[in-house]
């Protein structure tokens, strides 16, 4: 069954459609690639799905129910969590505090408990901090736990973003060009992380414009161009698809 599904999803900006009648169906447990050249509407599609912008037309269904027009925080609560194309962190906080603040949905402490530092509050806080350490170790930032986020390298920024997103316990994780700014080793490390997430049962929607990077981790790939879906299939089908090649490289003369 599709865990996430869009039907006829459309967003107009002025007279132009940034996303045009997009039908997308992501199965539970897959790593779906959403690719396309720059400006093809990938990020807009992700913003529409996660509630950051409202669709002009169309519907988003998540776990079988219509969630179009829901607020981002509501969707996060349901397990639909995203990252951003431009690195987005709590820059002034330490690595640890970034993930502690990211654990909002996981934080069941009461206000009274926090004010009185009740036993229950301290236990719950210790649990959150254990989980934070686990997550940071998982993304490879265990050693950097006390660093201030803004001092991290580009690669570390991306790993931290993922740790923050994971702290929200996503069922579907939507990553917006997470490999941007990373060197090949860092990108490979990241892709490995994503693969591990899948094995832990997280469904991933991976937006990327670098096709080479994702062909070996995605189960299926959807290709956008000018806001519309031009191809969909396994990585093998996609790399050989003439429409996709044209979209990426332009029409070959005489072809």
């Amino acid at each position: 069954m599709a865990i996430l599904e869009t039907t006829g999803l459309t967003r107009m900006f002025g007279g132009l459609s940034a996303v045009d009648e997009l039908d997308l169906s992501v199965e539970e447990g897959e790593i779906r690639g959403l690719i396309g050249p720059n400006g093809s509407g990938k990020t807009t599609a992700l913003n529409l799905i996660t509630g950051y912008i409202k669709p002009t037309r169309g519907m988003v269904r998540y776990q079988g129910s219509d969630v179009s027009g829901e607020q981002p925080h509501e969707l996060a609560r349901l397990g639909l969590v995203r990252t951003f194309q431009i690195t987005t962190l709590f820059e002034n906080l330490t690595v640890r505090d970034n993930v502690v603040h990211g654990s909002h949905l996981n934080n069941h402490t009461s206000l009274m408990g926090a004010l009185t530092r009740s036993k229950r509050y301290r236990r719950q806080t210790a649990e959150i901090e254990d989980r934070v350490r686990e997550l940071l170790a998982f993304v490879g930032l265990g050693e950097r736990i006390d660093a201030v986020a803004r001092d991290l390298s580009a690669g570390e920024h991306r790993y931290l973003e993922i740790a923050i997103a994971l702290a929200a316990k996503p069922k579907v994780l939507l990553l917006d060009e997470p490999a941007t700014g990373l060197n090949p080793e860092e990108a490979a490390y990241l892709m490995n992380l994503i693969r591990t997430l899948r094995s832990q049962g997280v469904t991933v929607l991976l937006v990327e414009h670098n096709m080479r990077l994702i062909t070996n981790i995605c189960t299926r790939i959807t290709v956008l161009n000018f806001g519309a879906k031009i191809a969909e299939g396994t990585p093998e089908e996609i790399v050989d698809n003439p429409d996709v090649i044209t979209a990426y490289l332009g029409k070959r003369r005489g072809a």
């Binding site: 996660t50 950051y52 607020q71 981002p72 925080h73 996060a76 609560r77 969590v81 995203r82 990252t83 951003f84 987005t88 962190l89 709590f90 820059e91 002034n92 906080l93 330490t94 502690v100 603040h101 990211g102 654990s103 909002h104 949905l105 934080n107 069941h108 402490t109 009461s110 206000l111 926090a114 004010l115 530092r117 806080t125 006390d146 660093a147 201030v148 803004r150 001092d151 923050i164 997103a165 702290a167 929200a168």
Partner: protein
């Protein structure tokens, strides 16, 4: 578990000790002791404004209006209905918090750049005008007089010194509460919205709801400060809602330092004492304060309290430099913290 006292509390405690003992020896007459009460009241108002500025990264131009509103509510209840000031101390923040909820709901619903600042400015002017014109209720320009002081077991807290210690106790309670609020789920939510709203939403923080509640909380706190004022100085008038007090609270926050709990406390003490020394200069006081504020913003943009903390850390950092490099990174974290 090892008891760890946050660095701010040492400095704060020291200041506090001075604040508790000095009045007995240095502030010997009624007038001077009245200043002490004023310091505490301004400190609470400053803490509340700093909640908006430091924790939320927002600004309220109507903070004095909420302060004055709290003062009027409590005064009115006591004068017209004979309701005990103790109830007033609860009713004033409740009323101010409710109005804050409404204002916040209007101003913080959508994008929030300058909207809160502008809407609160409008509210401030409106509230001041109402206080001035609605004579039957507010007493017009002369306000309300003979506001009763609170009494404890039949004994009126009327003397300056008694009221000072009473208010000081409340101030300490508020600082304590605020420091714990920061690590609560709510406090962290507010902080994360301030740091990065888009990210906060993506991890499930109901940004608008949290900001409206946080603003309402700050309004309640300043309303409480207003009630404390009304029952000590025993009058209220429209000036309390005006821009003079708005500037005072702003000076208290900026001189003391935003984003720190003890900053506004120190800012309030500095403001009251300095303005007392400058009393002879009458209306030039605010000119001088304008200049002082400018100098502080230019040369000590983090405020007096964080600057002192930095100096203290540097001195301590030098002495244990050999043992570890931790203080340096802590310092950097703090600086980054202030750079927001």
């Amino acid at each position: 578990m090892r008891l760890r006292i946050p660095p701010g509390w040492w400095l704060g405690g020291l200041v506090l000790l001075v604040v508790v003992l000095v009045p007995l020896f240095l502030f010997t007459n009624t007038y001077n002791r009245g200043l002490l009460v004023l310091i505490v009241i301004y400190a609470i108002a400053g803490l509340s404004l700093d909640y908006i500025m430091g924790e939320m990264g927002q600004f309220s131009f109507g903070h004095a209006a909420f302060w004055g509103f709290g003062a009027y509510v409590s005064a009115k209840l006591a004068l017209d209905l004979g309701i005990s000031p103790w109830i007033g101390f609860l009713a004033a923040p409740a009323a101010a918090g409710l109005v804050g909820l409404l204002i916040g709901y209007i101003a913080l619903r959508r994008t929030r750049n300058l909207e809160l600042a502008i809407v609160t400015l409008g509210f401030g002017v409106l509230a001041w005008t109402v206080a001035l014109r609605w004579r039957p209720v507010t007493g017009g320009p002369s306000g309300l007089r003979q506001v009763p002081p609170p009494s404890l077991f039949g004994w009126e807290i009327r003397s300056e010194l008694a009221y000072f210690y009473f208010a000081l106790l409340l101030l300490l309670g508020i600082v304590f509460l605020l420091s714990r609020l920061r690590t609560s789920r709510f406090g962290r939510g507010v902080r994360s919205i301030h740091e990065n709203e888009d990210l906060a939403k993506s991890i499930g923080v109901a940004a608008t709801k949290y900001y409206v509640l946080a603003f309402s909380f700050a309004c309640a706190l300043v309303g409480f400060s207003g009630a404390l004022y009304a029952h000590h100085f025993r009058f209220v008038n429209p000036n309390l809602l005006g821009l003079d007090y708005m500037f005072i609270f702003l000076i208290v926050v900026l001189v003391g330092g935003t984003g720190t709990l003890w900053g506004p406390v120190m800012g309030a003490a500095i403001f009251v004492l300095v303005s007392e020394w400058l009393r002879a200069l009458q209306e030039y006081r605010f000119v001088i304060f304008g200049v002082v504020l400018l100098l502080v913003v230019l040369f000590m943009p983090i405020g007096v309290f964080p600057a002192l903390q930095k100096v203290a850390r540097r001195i301590r950092g030098r002495s244990d430099e050999d043992t570890d490099g931790a203080p340096a990174s802590e310092d950097r974290a703090l600086e980054a913290d202030r750079a927001r």
